[in-house]
Structures are given as structure tokens and as C-alpha cells.
């Protein structure tokens, strides 16, 4: 809010600010939901206020946090694997073109293939346990990591490499001082996008195959026709996803503040 000392046009302008519109959208959405839920809502469609109540109740239960713990286990391990494997692979593919020429076709196929379709195979091979969830999360996330890291290494300005060589830099120094810092913004982007995909993988495997943890809560509440709790669980998953991704975004800005995408006012992409 603008201080009261300002004259009228100032608060008119303040009312015209981005935040006003953001809040306005949310209020409209909540109102619309409320009306829809009240008038047409059947057994499974709660109102906005019912959902909020159920959410507050849900985060007070032991059951919810147990489910969070189990789901996030797969997320953490799978995502760590994806970064641990994906970054080196991406760097190698970015630097060595010949290898990349042979593997490119698979990356392209992996990028467009709906990974969920391999869940049945995973379950057949390693069962319903933690391992199959970890593998799926890794597969979901790793492609994003590899593709972004590869692009990052590739797009490092060749003039910088030439400059370093003109000052007598060795291959190792070129890696340490030019290629890695140059690729860092893209590496961080890959990690952020990979995290988004990892959360997706976590949710998908639980919803589609291995009824467990958060995914199981959703299916259970649906079975019990407990609309508010169903919606509250979904909201909780969405909130977790958005918080994690915002944190990754924050980290990205912190680590590579010089990158054009990370500067103030840059589009969030």
C-alpha cells in the first residue's frame, strides 16, 4: 500500500498494480468455485470453503505426514540420482559431438514418449516397492537435466574459449574457468525443470500403478466419496510442487545471477 501522504492518483495507481490483479483473479476463482460447488456440486465436488477446512484438518493428521514422507522418499532419491547421473552425461554429450550424434535420436524419443506407459514394465520387473518409484522418478527427471546441461555446454560462446586459449589456458583450465561456469545457468535450469518432472513422476506412479502414500490417499478419498478431503490432498500436492519449484528458482538466481534469465524483471521461464 502507498502511504496516505500521497495524493489520490497515487492510490488509484496502487489499485492498478499487478498484485491487485493477481488477488482479483484468485478471489474470482474462489467465488466461482464456491458457487459451482454449492449449486451443482455433487457427492465429489466440494465448495472452496469446505476444501479449505478439509485442508486444515488434513495437515493436522498423522496419516497425511506419513504419506508425505513415503512419497517424498522416492522423490528425493530419484531426483538426486537424476542430477548425479544427468549432469555428467549432459556435459559429455555437450562436449563430444560424435557421441551426441548417435544418442540424439534416443533423447528426442525420450522427450516425447509418455513415460507413464512404462510403469507396467517397471512393476513387472522390480515390483511395487520403493525401487520402482525411485526408478520412475529418475527416468522422468533425467531427460530434462541431460537436455538442458547439454544445451548449456554447447552454447558457451566459442569466442570465450578462444580468448582463454590466447592467454595460454590448458584444456583443464578451459573446463574449470569457461565451460562449467558458462554452462552453470543452464545446469541450474535443468535441475529446476528436472525437479518439476520428478514431482510429476512421483505423483503419476502413485496415481496410476502403485497405490501408495499421497496417491493412495487420493484414490481412497475418492472411493469414500469424501470430496473435501480429496480436493485438499490434491491442493497439498500442488502446494508442495510449487514450493519446491520456487525454491529451485531461487537457488538458480542465487547461483548464476549474471545469466540474463535470472536478472530482475526477466520473464519467469
Amino acid at each position: 500500500m502507498v502511504t496516505a501522504a500521497r495524493r489520490r492518483p497515487a492510490w488509484v495507481r496502487a489499485l492498478d498494480s499487478n498484485l491487485t490483479y493477481q488477488i482479483g483473479t484468485f478471489v474470482l476463482f474462489a467465488l466461482g468455485w464456491q458457487v459451482y460447488g454449492t449449486v451443482w456440486g455433487g457427492l465429489l465436488v466440494p465448495t472452496f470453503t469446505e476444501t479449505v477446512e478439509a485442508f486444515v484438518e488434513l495437515v493436522g493428521t498423522r496419516e497425511f505426514w506419513d504419506a508425505m514422507f513415503v512419497s517424498n522418499q522416492a522423490l528425493v532419491i530419484g531426483f538426486a540420482l537424476a542430477v548425479g547421473i544427468g549432469v555428467p552425461v549432459g556435459v559429455v554429450l555437450g562436449r563430444f559431438r560424435t557421441l551426441e550424434r548417435y544418442l540424439n535420436v534416443y533423447l528426442n524419443i525420450l522427450l516425447v514418449t509418455p513415460m507413464a506407459a512404462i510403469i507396467p514394465l517397471l512393476v513387472m520387473s522390480v515390483g511395487f516397492g520403493l525401487l520402482s518409484r525411485v526408478i520412475l522418478v529418475t527416468i522422468f527427471a533425467i531427460v530434462m537435466v541431460i537436455v538442458n546441461v547439454r544445451a548449456g555446454v554447447r552454447q558457451v560462446d566459442p569466442a570465450l574459449i578462444q580468448m582463454a586459449r590466447s592467454f595460454g589456458a590448458s584444456e583443464r583450465e578451459i573446463w574449470m574457468r569457461i565451460l562449467i561456469p558458462g554452462a552453470l545457468p543452464s545446469i541450474m535450469t535443468g535441475i529446476r525443470l528436472g525437479l518439476g518432472r520428478a514431482v510429476t513422476g512421483m505423483v503419476i506412479v502413485e496415481l496410476l500403478m502403485v497405490s501408495l502414500a499421497l496417491g493412495n490417499l487420493i484414490l481412497e478419498y475418492r472411493g469414500m466419496f469424501n470430496g473435501p478431503a480429496l480436493y485438499a490432498t490434491i491442493a497439498a500436492i500442488l502446494i508442495e510442487a510449487l514450493v519446491l519449484i520456487s525454491l529451485a528458482r531461487l537457488l538458480e538466481r542465487k547461483v548464476a545471477p549474471w545469466a540474463p534469465n535470472n536478472q530482475k524483471g526477466a520473464n519467469q521461464r
Partner: protein, 270 residues
């Protein structure tokens, strides 16, 4: 030509290296197919059948005609969901890119929905629309719309001011400005978003069909999985990949028709 390019010495011509790329991909596909066959035979496990078994099952599915009904249904879901997303992407995206207030009102929500795991909305659609095709179409929409909105918005935002001023100076109104200047200028980047949107739409179709398992390829995968029929899962996966690649090729074909004026070198930067 500037001084930088004059020092570059490509080892071969564009044509040869393009052909080399195709050959490398083909070669590596053939090698992987052979490896698949050999490892599948040696391993002899239900979840990794050799390629020949998978192709055999695929052949059966085709000769039986089992797959066609499901394929058509899936394609219907895909087409409908994608068409809705495309309209939303162009309309909302243009409005967001052109008007600050629209961008302020919708921006963060569109971005949030883009990064959120789209499949969690499936139970919501299920509860509102029931266990039918409408829910699957809605899932396809959730998967593909937001990437197209965001790309269109930033494409429209990035249209150079001088072009817009040029349009104004010749007396173009807002509608003419958008349809005659802004959208054509933004088209290459919009198409980049449409291509991504198409890929996500195929994913949404399969995931939606797997969750609301009443129709389509997604349901076939789920059922084959429940029967522990690895060969059929992989056979359908091949079909799905073919659908995805064909859908994206279609977008690229249209892209080339529409944005043929863009110089090849600047295209990838979009």
C-alpha cells in the same frame, strides 16, 4: 559476413553433415534394435521380451484390428484436447503478451499450472465430468494449454516495437495490428510453443487414459500390464511413440508452411 564467421572452417558441407546425422541416428537405432533382440533373448524375462516378440504382438494387434478402435478413440481425445488448448493458448497468450493487466491477473497462475504435476487434476475432472472422454480431454488440455499460453505471451511481448509503431503509423487498428503484424511476427516462437504443447498433449492423452481407464491406448497399456504381458505393453508403447512423433511432425509441417519466411539460422533461437 563478419569477421567471426570468416575464421570458421566447417569440415564438410551442410548436406553431407545432415546426411551424416541421419545415418548416425539410423545406425544407432539398428544397433539398439539388435541389442534389444539379443538381450531380450538372453534375459528371458517377461518385462523385457525380445524385439521380435514385441513386433509379433504388434502384428497380431494390427491383423486382429484390436488396436484400431482404441487408436482412433485416443486420436479423437488428442485432437479435441489439443484443439481446445491451441485456441486457449493463442487467445489467452496474445492477451497476456499484449496487455499488462491480463498478464498481471493470469501470469503467475499460468506459470504455476505449467510447472505443477498435471495429472493430479485428473481426480478433479473425474469428480466433475465423470469417468468418460470429457475427463480425458480435460487432462489433455491441462497438459498442453499452459506451455502454449506462456510461449505465445512471450512471443507477442517480444515483437519489436518498431514493427508495431510501423503498423500504427499506417493507421492499423488494434485488431489489424494483432492479426496483421504481431501474430505473424510472433509466429516462429509461437510454433515452438505449439510443438512443445503437442508433445505434452500426447503425454496427457496416455496418462489420462491410464488413469480413467475406460478407453484408448492408455487403457490397453494398463490392462496389458495387469496381465503381465510385457510384449503387448511394449508393442503399444511403440505405437504411442509413433503417434507422438507423427503429431510433432505434423506441427513442424504446418510450421514450415506458415513461417517459411524466417531465415533458417534464426529459427532455433526462438
Amino acid at each position: 559476413m563478419n569477421a567471426n564467421t570468416e575464421t570458421r572452417a566447417p569440415a564438410r558441407t551442410g548436406w553431407v553433415s545432415a546426411a551424416g546425422k541421419v545415418n548416425a541416428s539410423l545406425l544407432s537405432l539398428v544397433v539398439a534394435a539388435l541389442a534389444w533382440e539379443v538381450i531380450g533373448r538372453l534375459a528371458d524375462v517377461p518385462f523385457f521380451p525380445p524385439l521380435s516378440d514385441v513386433l509379433g504382438v504388434l502384428g497380431d494387434l494390427i491383423t486382429d484390428g484390436d488396436i484400431f478402435g482404441n487408436l482412433l478413440t485416443s486420436l479423437g481425445n488428442l485432437a479435441l484436447g489439443f484443439a481446445l488448448s491451441l485456441v486457449a493458448g493463442l487467445v489467452v497468450g496474445t492477451a497476456m503478451g499484449r496487455y499488462r493487466r491480463v498478464n498481471a491477473a493470469l501470469g503467475i497462475y499460468v506459470y504455476a499450472l505449467l510447472t505443477a504435476p498435471s495429472l493430479v487434476f485428473a481426480p478433479i475432472f473425474f469428480s466433475i465430468l465423470g469417468a468418460g472422454q470429457a475427463s480425458i480431454v480435460a487432462v489433455v488440455f491441462m497438459y498442453s494449454a499452459f506451455i502454449m499460453i506462456i510461449n505465445t505471451a512471450s512471443a507477442v511481448e517480444n515483437v519489436s516495437d518498431s514493427l508495431i509503431e510501423m503498423g500504427r503509423s499506417y493507421g492499423a487498428g488494434e485488431w489489424q495490428l494483432v492479426t496483421r503484424v504481431i501474430l505473424p511476427a510472433a509466429a516462429p516462437m509461437i510454433f515452438a510453443g505449439i510443438r512443445l504443447g503437442m508433445g505434452r498433449a500426447v503425454t496427457g492423452m496416455i496418462n489420462g487414459e491410464m488413469f480413467i481407464a475406460v478407453v484408448g491406448l492408455g487403457r490397453m497399456v494398463t490392462q496389458a500390464g495387469k496381465r503381465f504381458d510385457g510384449a503387448e505393453v511394449l508393442a503399444i508403447l511403440l505405437v504411442i511413440i509413433a503417434v507422438a512423433l507423427a503429431a510433432i511432425a505434423l506441427v513442424q509441417f504446418v510450421d514450415r508452411k506458415v513461417t517459411g519466411w524466417v531465415p533458417a539460422t534464426s529459427k532455433e533461437s526462438g
